[in-house]
């Protein structure tokens, strides 16, 4: 049961804070690398506040650091952000309210907030998990960016702490309760296989979007189960 994994608002808050802190450490490295790639600290902070899509931002400054133009940097950054459109659509039913509120909440649509929301059993818990995770990650990412942009290097490599292994583990823990839905195990395996198969050939961001095709066998199997 999902409820045995994440039963209470308090636990949701704790998990949201944990994800936020891990993201914050990456925010520091983003700030450091962004300034090294030629952005001013103000630009690095504006990018983290308004773009707020870690993978896109790292891709963007990666191209800039390698001597690419701003236009060349936009391609991979946008490709990596496209999955947020799919997340936004799947979250839409749990995001009611006035247009202004939805416009604000939309900025929090990212991997972490989607994963936390989708791991909950009911819409109210999902909304809370989305909000807490989104706000926690947004705050930590931006504080991290500011610190990294101002202080520069010397804060160490997040990989030495194993933080890069933390994200797939967190997503796995949040994916597990969703696998009870009809067709979900098939969609998950198909999505992972497609992404890995496409990765050597496709530009950054494309493998995860291509994995959307994994929904098709999932839906077909679910239909077979119900029939």
């Amino acid at each position: 049961m999902a409820s045995t994994v994440l039963p209470t608002p308090r636990r949701t808050l704790r998990n949201a804070a944990a994800i936020g802190i891990a993201v914050g450490v990456y925010g520091v490295s983003f700030g450091v690398l962004a300034v090294a790639a030629g952005l001013t600290p103000t630009q690095a902070c504006v990018m983290s506040m308004l773009t707020f899509t870690g993978a896109s931002q790292f891709a963007c400054i990666g191209v800039l650091a390698a001597g690419g133009s701003a236009l060349a940097a936009m391609g991979p950054a946008v490709m990596l952000a496209v999955r947020n459109a799919a997340y936004g659509l799947s979250l839409a039913p749990i995001l009611p309210g006035r247009l202004r509120d939805r416009a604000l909440l939309a900025q929090l649509v990212i991997d972490e907030s989607t994963a936390m929301a989708r791991a909950q059993d009911d819409p109210a818990a999902a909304r809370l998990a989305f909000l807490l995770t989104g706000v926690s990650v947004w705050l930590c990412w931006n504080v991290g960016t500011l610190a990294g942009a101002l202080l520069g290097g010397g804060l160490g490599d997040p990989r030495a702490l194993g933080l890069d292994a933390m994200f797939p583990a967190a997503f796995l823990a949040l994916l597990a309760p969703q696998l009870r839905r009809p067709g979900a195990p098939v969609a998950a395996v198909a999505g992972a296989v497609i992404a890995v198969a496409v990765l050597p050939f496709a530009p950054a961001g494309v493998p995860v979007i291509a994995a959307l095709a994994g929904v098709v066998p999932g839906v077909l199997v679910a239909r077979g189960i119900r029939a």
Binding site: M47, T51, T53, A81, A92, P93, A106, P168, L172, P182
Partner: protein, 100 residues
Amino acid sequence: MSWAALLTLCAVSYALKAIGPLLAGGRQLGPRVRRMLDLVPVALLAALIAVQTLGAGHRLVLDARAPALAVAAALVWRRAPFLVVVLAAAGTAALLRALA
């Protein structure tokens, strides 16, 4: 990077996120659409796990992240708390790298 390019990227990123919440926020969708959309994050998160564990640019590599994910999977299987799962994964990867 020019401010124009930077703000364009911000606008595009936001527009992508906002399509769903702005156009369909709070709307009750039909059960078939609903079930399909339920599987969207499942497929994408599984893909993200695979790419973040095995990907290194355009190469597939087996490094400290794979055993870390295996430890995480075992703990998820045993219904360990979320924090235990992520900390054990980070610890496994850090330990393997320190030993290497």
